[in-house]
């Protein structure tokens, strides 16, 4: 499986996909910054990452999940630094032959990201 991971401090731009032949399902998840954080109105959030480890853990999670949910390609982009309300802080795209695997990879990935991947909201502004 093809895994593309990026941790970036600019706006998320997803990579173009090559011509698809054997892909039947593409599931995309975008996590976007909401205007409220802990009942306070905010303009944005600031993220910090332990980048080397984050990339390693993301690879591990995708690899673990692909035993149960084999997929063709997974893209993960996480922003760090300041992210404004309405902007995407995380983007995940999963390609698979069928939707069951694609949905479960994408959902399972997000659950584990929020447990194990060393990225933090370090404040709001």
């Amino acid at each position: 499986m093809d895994t593309h991971i990026r941790i970036i401090s600019r706006q998320v731009e997803k990579e173009d996909l090559p011509r698809l032949e054997n892909t039947g399902a593409i599931v995309e998840f975008s996590g976007t910054v909401r205007h409220e954080e802990n009942d306070q109105n905010i303009l944005g959030l600031e993220y910090q990452a332990y980048e080397n480890m984050a990339i390693r853990q993301i690879k591990k999670i995708v690899s673990d999940l692909s035993d149960e949910f084999p997929c063709q390609r997974v893209d993960v982009i996480h922003r760090i630094g300041r992210v404004l309300v309405g902007e995407t802080s995380i983007y995940v795209r999963v390609l698979a032959k069928h939707r069951f695997e694609a949905f479960n990879m994408c959902m399972g990935f997000m659950d584990r990201l929020k447990q194990d991947v060393p990225i933090w909201k370090i404040g709001s502004f």
């Binding site: 993220y47 991947v117 933090w120 909201k121």
Partner: protein
């Protein structure tokens, strides 16, 4: 032997450094090394974890020569996404 201590998020404020090279002896644990930087450090109470070279390990695990020159990072509860 030498090891690079790394801190992130709330742990960075707690310890007061982002990275710091320290020496360690064979058999010392991560907990001991970080407690040398901040007396009374109780990572389990805070729910903080520790990672050697990008992989989670136990706080009481004894470090040996394989840790020499590596990064040892304290990982407060993550909140990415």
């Amino acid at each position: 032997m030498r090891i690079q201590l790394l801190t992130f998020a709330t742990a960075r404020d707690y310890f007061g450094f982002a990275e710091k090279e320290v020496s360690f002896n064979d058999g010392e644990s991560s907990k001991v090394l970080f407690a040398k930087c901040k007396a009374g450090f109780k990572p389990e109470e805070l729910g903080w974890r520790v990672a050697l070279d990008g992989e989670y390990i136990e706080w009481n695990e004894m470090l040996d020569k394989k840790a020499n020159g590596k990064d040892l990072a304290v990982i407060p509860p993550v909140s990415g996404g």
